[in-house]
């Protein structure tokens, strides 16, 4: 996935069809991070009510982002054929939630394999293989989006 151009707050990316398929698979995995994973405080600073409010706010956010993913992937205007490649259009305002979604898949799969200190080596026979693949794919798309933001600013 590479940035082609930015026009009027619209980012135009070029993907090969296989990349588009992989991006779709990764985005549809969202959300991955377990709902109770995030805590408001490590000490007793936050009471249960505050923690409950945070859990609710994050659940609402997940639900909203999930709907946004579906809208993006089912909107024919966002992906169009361009020769052998596919052009994807993202609004500047959408980049942030796409990053949130990708990083949720990235971090969430790391949590699912036990939050290891060292990045695990991929082995196709490992019981963690699919989590590691998802983690690495999400990380790759995330890096490409961050590079696009950096190039455009």
């Amino acid at each position: 996935m590479k940035l082609l151009r930015v026009e009027n707050d619209r980012f135009f990316f070029q993907l090969i069809p296989r990349e588009k398929d992989l991006l779709e698979i990764v985005l549809r995995l969202y959300p991955v991070i377990p709902p109770t994973h995030q805590v408001l405080s490590k000490s007793s600073t936050a009471d249960k009510a505050n923690q409950h409010l945070l859990d609710e706010a994050l659940a609402e956010q997940r639900s909203e982002n999930k709907k946004r993913v579906e809208d993006l992937l089912t909107n024919p205007g966002r992906f169009r054929k361009s020769g052998d490649a596919i052009e994807m259009i993202l609004m500047a305002s959408e980049i942030e939630w796409v990053l949130q979604v990708l990083n949720d898949v990235h971090v969430g799969n790391w949590v699912l394999i036990g939050s290891p200190e060292q990045r695990p080596r991929f082995s196709p026979i490992s019981k963690h293989a699919r989590f590691i693949v998802a983690m690495d794919l999400a990380c790759m798309f995330e890096s490409q989006l961050l590079e696009a933001i950096s190039l455009s600013s």
Binding site: I33, Q38, V39, L40, S41, K42, S43, T45, A46, N50, L53, L54, A57, L58, Q61, E96, L99, Q100, N103, D104, H106, V107, G108, W110, S115, P116, E117, Q118, R119, M135, C139, E142, S143, L146, I149, S150
Partner: protein, 97 residues
Amino acid sequence: MPEVIPDIERDEKSKSESAKEPGYLVVCWNDPVNLMDYVTHVFQTVFAWQRPKAELHMKQVHNLGKSVLVRESLEKAEHYVHQLQKYSLHATMERDE
């Protein structure tokens, strides 16, 4: 025996004032999974910081294990923790003691 009436009004007032005091630290903790560029980007977005300041805090997180990002009231600290957690960063708020 005199009736003791709890000073509810004063308790609520002091609780509300305490919530407005900037006595809460928003802390970001290191983890081995988030990308350094991503963490920098999130700090820039959430706090509207320039890149050098965001990078400085990102490096503190990476090298020291954590960085105190801001010192705020309870409400604002909760708001920032929520914003950072939306991006899946390991952020919490702690009372500044």
